[in-house]
Subunit: 178 residues, 2 copies
């Protein structure tokens, strides 16, 4: 039941959001973020689209490295959704036509065929859903969300192992005192 | 005058924000984001603090790679602020005491000395301020904001150079038609 709720909430968050924080990597390997408006014509769990200026740093960044993430969030109640995936840059005129909106000349002065107008396509593979203190981890496969267990293959540094021992000891002491 | 306004707005945005999107790099080099509450006791242009669970993926990530970014934004009017820098993990008990709030036991059951409670310190070096269609680029040096010109050392891929030529030609054609 809990699983079904999370899956539904994740879907709703993706389908109902406009502003999304899109992250890329800069030339020095730092994460870089900016808010972008999601184009909602073809949004699904498998693909999300954005229009942008061709002559912008993020296009150079995604051309160099397609690794990307999206972050959606709401306050009251707090919900956060992180999606990890790849971003591809699209110049195909049919796709540019499809996503064109009246008034976009404000950003792209030469209209639909403006070389400075292009489309970014994000394809997610996995993500985290933050709901209160709970974190649900999931993969997206064939357009469907599958909740998964935390990744236990992560290498834990020694200082964290030591702190975790201290933590477990505190728990033991507490339960002995009861 | 424009410069002074931007500098003031950037300062205000940092000092008045609570929720910030914090980005790190995961073990596969993908940007990863989550919203966090900024601790406002010692916030300045040179340092920003967050408390977090020691036993969380982000602590492992920042231990492996301190490269980080913060992203602040508001809607109506839209303003976005990206800060690039480093995050260090702090276990110093005095600093943990300093940032402790009544009620934090909800997140850290053993209180101020909980091994699962630690502080993240973000130190920014540069950033972008997005205000409407304008982007101001700046560096932070000695706790002060200095606006800078776009980085012209960026290597531009050939396909973008070609598209830029097309763009310039369109501009020439347009101005000849007038």
């Amino acid at each position: 039941m809990k699983n079904e709720n999370s899956t539904l909430e994740i879907k709703q968050m993706i389908l109902n959001s406009n502003t999304v924080v899109v992250s890329s990597l800069d030339k020095n390997g730092y994460p870089t973020s900016r808010a972008m408006l999601m184009l909602n014509e073809k949004t699904s769990l498998s693909e999300m689209y954005f229009s942008t200026n061709t002559f912008s740093y993020k296009v150079i960044q995604f051309h160099e490295n397609s690794k990307a993430s999206l972050y959606f969030h709401t306050t009251n109640p707090f919900r956060g959704l992180y999606l990890k995936g790849e971003i591809n840059i699209i110049f195909d005129q049919k796709i540019k036509d499809f996503f064109w909106h009246e008034g976009d000349e404000k950003y792209y002065r030469f209209g639909k065929t403006d070389p400075n107008y292009c489309i970014l396509k994000f394809t997610p593979v996995e993500g985290n859903y933050y709901c209160g203190l709970r974190i649900d981890r999931f993969v997206i496969f064939d357009g469907e969300i599958q909740l998964v267990k935390p990744d236990l293959n992560t290498e834990v540094p020694d200082f964290l192992k030591q702190l975790y021992k201290e933590y477990i000891n505190k728990m033991k002491t507490q339960s002995n005192e009861k």
